[in-house]
């Protein structure tokens, strides 16, 4: 029997199954929490940090990723405060400076209200979201790729840099990678990166309906859970 808990997101009360994550609940009930590394039915890692929310405990709020936060009885979540918006904008800015050659990440940056990028562009083609690693490990049980190294040298690689014997050639790692769709104007060369921002008109409606998912076209680049 499924047990239910009641919780609050942005003031609205929900009765939700025990064990689900805050992000899943928000998506289910049409609250827009931008996210990138979350893939439905795959374990969450909290790698992209975009889905941060404020979790209010006894009057104090704690900022944490909603994908790794499990629902609890009487939980109070704020997903769209000024503080969260500011932090989220900064995170999106960092992501776009790390990998500007991705429609998904450019879309996210627009969605989070990034207007200028204050950081130098790295153009690294990977933001270590771990989507490929998790789909390979969990859905396909192949374990052909994984994280290698640590800190700034962390990379997604197969063991010893050669194609893994356990690879099933499913291609799902490529399907889920946010880097596979380049910005509409084509890939940017190193030194010529910019913030795309051409889809800003998509935000018109989003701004009039704060914190609600309006099915904006900005999620298509990375299979936002609504698409």
């Amino acid at each position: 029997m499924i047990q239910y808990v009641s919780m609050k997101i942005d003031g609205a009360i929900f009765k939700v199954p025990k064990g689900s994550s805050v992000l899943d609940v928000a998506i289910e009930y049409g609250i827009c929490i931008p996210h990138l590394c979350h893939v439905p039915n795959i374990s969450d890692l909290g790698a992209c940090r975009l889905c941060i929310v404020e979790h209010v405990v006894e009057g104090r709020s704690k900022v944490t990723t909603s994908c790794t936060l499990r629902v609890q009885e009487g939980m109070v979540i704020k997903s769209n405060t000024q503080k969260i918006k500011r932090l989220r904008k900064n995170i999106a800015e960092l992501l776009v400076s790390q990998a500007p050659n991705s429609k998904a990440i450019q879309d996210i940056a627009v969605r989070c209200g990034v207007k200028t990028v204050r950081y130098p562009f790295r153009n690294d083609n990977c933001v270590l979201c771990g989507r490929c690693v998790r789909i390979c490990r969990e859905q396909w049980q192949a374990k052909a790729i994984g994280f290698v190294g640590r800190g700034k040298d962390r990379r997604v690689k197969s063991p010893f840099g050669v194609k893994s014997e356990t690879c099933k050639m499913c291609g799902n790692c490529i399907d889920l990678c946010p880097m596979t769709i380049t910005p509409c104007d084509g890939p940017m060369k190193p030194g010529e990166e910019y913030l795309c921002g051409k889809c800003e008109s998509q935000l018109m409606e989003a701004e009039s309906a704060v914190d609600q998912c309006i099915m904006c076209g900005l999620g298509e680049g990375f299979q936002c859970a609504r698409h």
Partner: protein, 163 residues
């Protein structure tokens, strides 16, 4: 001393994934590095996916994927040592041995490494050679140290050649 074969190290630990780090530590201690072959064997015997063994080995600084020389010279490049000229020491070692940090010299005698701090900042610049520390190093002292180590290790081979 001959290193123990991998079979002996795996004795009593097969099919126990939680023993991974212990086995890797033993292999590292016995062979000085962890070879691709060893990683494949460990993965098969312990029942840990190959990619997991590989990421653990690449994560920890204590494990090495490439063979290391007989003498490992570690430079401290922490703040205090850096200020007192650790860069000069590193350059001295690189130019004297002709290898980059992390690589082994062709005669398999030396490997240079740099670490972020050895925890003896008041004694800097610090250099450790095979586990023993040398304080207040200078490029000249380091040159003599490397020469002494080379002389010590090359001698037995020459004697063997004569005989």
């Amino acid at each position: 001393m001959q290193p123990q074969p991998l079979e002996t190290l795996l004795e009593g630990r097969r099919s126990q994934p939680h023993q991974l780090i212990e086995v890797l530590q033993d292999v590292q201690a016995q062979y000085g590095y962890i070879s691709e072959e060893a990683i494949r064997t460990i993965s098969k015997e312990l029942g840990v996916p190959l990619v997991d063994v590989y990421s653990v080995v690449s994560f920890y600084k204590a494990f090495h994927l490439n063979p290391r020389g007989k003498n490992v010279i570690t430079m401290c490049t922490g703040t205090a040592c850096h200020v007192r000229g650790a860069k000069l020491l590193l350059n001295q070692a690189i130019s004297q041995l002709g290898v980059q940090p992390g690589d082994m010299t062709d005669d398999k005698l030396f490997t240079i490494e740099h670490v972020n701090c050895l925890g003896a900042c008041a004694l800097g610049p610090v250099v450790t050679e095979n586990g023993s520390s040398h304080h207040h190093m200078s490029p000249g002292k380091l040159r003599k140290l490397i020469d002494a180590l080379r002389a010590r290790d090359e001698k037995p081979e020459q004697e063997a050649d004569h005989a």
